[in-house]
Symmetry: C2
Subunit: 338 residues, 2 copies
DNA sequence: AAGTTAAATGACAGCGCTGTCAATTTTCAT
DNA sequence: ATGAAAATTGACAGCGCTGTCATTTAACTT
């Protein structure tokens, strides 16, 4: 029934150890031997036992996705991307949701990594932006790949994927400007997220480049929630003359802003344009649908995983970092200013 | 550095084997011994090595969560529940998202189960309601636990958790009736879901019990989406005299109905009551917040996993099936009819 | 051709745990 | 108290593989 390395060894007439060498693609096996073994592997449809392998060997074939994110859509996308690459490369995935604010968080993570013999970790914000975590992991000899927000591709040695929120935000703002808007409000996300500051900077930069002065009263603090969008819009729409467009730091905020405008009988997009960010399902479940920036999370996760596995395998590739820029997705919540 | 079963055995003064028994919660270990061992486990912070365990044992300690569900919130909740029980019982989890409508779905699942040496599977709709899947799995000797919608606790031998959508729906409808509503519209979910018919039946039953006649024109077909809620409400609100309350088959539909009502300047809840179902984050991100039925998915998943692991361990418990009834959660979208 | 070095292969222990079965202790009836 | 049955515990082999190191074989020397 189940084929072991010994069966392969017997059939090909070599020792168990040599089969092991072939399986692991080690050097110093004669080509003729290698062929013999491979033939036997095929014939018996042999698949190495992962448990035995990781028990005996020092290296593991398991990676972990450690996250703390209230956004279920995001997590699922990431998870699916990671999973598809794992499947391709014969790695296993352990998922580990946890609370980044717990005070024993470092201990929790390290113990979990030791326990499950994790070879590498995929990190998303906020963990990817917490040096105490990344340093600790690196010190433990665990490989990692970080997914984070940023626009200057730092001289990073550890693999990472950068989301260029700055440029995307710039484009989104430019889209509004191109439509004729000059008084553009901004509802920000939580300050603790790097993506928030990146998006604010992109917004400001687009204004400046287009000779529109940045007015601080048009930028209201908020957090990544519907409620915050409602309140932010409330504030912005009380300004006289009121802004003709609102840039919301993400789609949830945009949905809140949309709601708030509806309450005031302000027609979207005729009297007010609203844009979001992320292309989350939220942005499609409103009416009108929200213009946003599309961030291909699943692809990002998959690429990140490929980078990580490369690193684990010790195959040095020239490409350790990648950058993604979310793309402008024009829908129905933005229109030209008349 | 790393603690093994031998360290625990030494510290507690028993044999390795006895520690193993305690870890695996086997019977025939004296309570005093068990306590001693547990104390040592705590002190050393021992965690069994999963690889060794599955290598040594004939049975595996890995379960799979196989799902096909577009609702990210649901999946995350389930996943967290399963994970927490796995952690408690020292099991591993493999997650396997897939498309229930693919034509090679059975083969995909069976091959995955063989390859990953899965001992048991957690199934949610639609898989839990597909006999071709459950039969195949059972035939393979894989233990399983099903989570599904239903109100008659069948004489089932395979473990399952039933969501009593019928009773919950009854309660929700009764809530509206108690508020004085008589003309209660119903926007249904997709017919392919058993939960839809259960919820319709509960609604009808509550009407009948309260001597309100069931009017078919008040029940509109739909599916589990925001858009469907918008359209369903559109239809219902065109009826003259229009219903004074709308029962939406889930929260997304309710959010759509809410939106649609706003457009027509119908004030919620003063002029129209709306209730949803599920207590998904959706129901909290609207304004007003939606009255709904709370379904504790995480707890459900955790209990289901406990049932499954019990079954895998061969510990026959009297309780193979459990029933959960989502609880009425009154919020701001329902009010008495004046 | 004999000696030397490098390449290829194999023998064996052991990773940390569980299954089997035998040894020990406890329990209970006589 | 005494023996038999039952409950509890332990000794030991081995799961399938890789690491180490010894051994064999091939490939060069001069």
């Amino acid at each position: 029934m189940k084929v072991t390395i010994n069966d392969v060894a017997d059939l090909s007439g070599v020792s168990m150890k040599t089969v092991s060498r072939v399986i692991n693609n080690e050097s110093s096996v004669r080509q003729t031997t290698r062929d013999k073994v491979m033939a036997a592997v095929k014939e018996l449809n042999y698949q190495p036992n992962l448990a035995a392998r990781s028990l005996a060997g020092s290296n593991s074939y398991t990676i972990a996705y450690i996250y703390d994110n209230p956004n279920a859509y995001y997590v699922i996308d990431m998870q699916n991307g990671i999973l598809s690459e794992c499947k391709k490369q014969n790695f296993e995935l352990v998922i580990h949701p946890c609370n980044s604010k717990a005070d024993n968080i470092i201990e929790e993570i390290t113990s979990m990594i030791k326990h499950s013999r994790i070879a590498g970790v995929v990190l998303t914000p906020p963990f990817s932006e917490m040096p105490e975590i990344t340093d600790q992991l690196t010190a433990m000899g665990v490989k990692l790949v970080s997914i984070l927000s940023g626009h200057s591709l730092a001289e990073n040695h550890t693999p990472c994927i950068m989301i260029n929120d700055f440029d995307a935000s710039f484009e989104l703002t430019k889209h509004l400007i191109d439509l004729g808007h000059k008084d553009i409000g901004f509802i920000s996300g939580g300050k603790e997220h790097k993506s928030t500051s990146e998006r604010i900077d992109g917004y400001k930069s687009a204004l400046i480049v287009n000779n529109i002065s940045v007015r601080d009263e048009l930028i209201v603090d908020g957090e990544y929630s519907f409620e915050s969008g409602v309140q932010g819009a409330e504030k912005l729409l009380a300004i006289d003359p009121r802004p003709t467009a609102i840039f919301s730091c993400n789609d949830e905020i945009a949905a809140g802003a949309l709601f708030s405008s509806r309450l005031k009988n302000i027609n979207i997009p005729d009297q007010l344009s609203i844009v979001g960010f992320e292309n989350s399902p939220f942005s499609r479940q409103t009416w009108p649908k929200i213009t946003t920036a599309d961030q291909p999370n699943q692809t990002i996760a998959q690429n990140a995983t490929a980078l990580l596995i490369n690193e684990i395998r010790g195959q040095d590739s020239d490409e350790v970092c990648q950058q993604f820029t979310p793309q402008l997705l024009v829908r129905d919540s933005s229109a030209s200013f008349k």
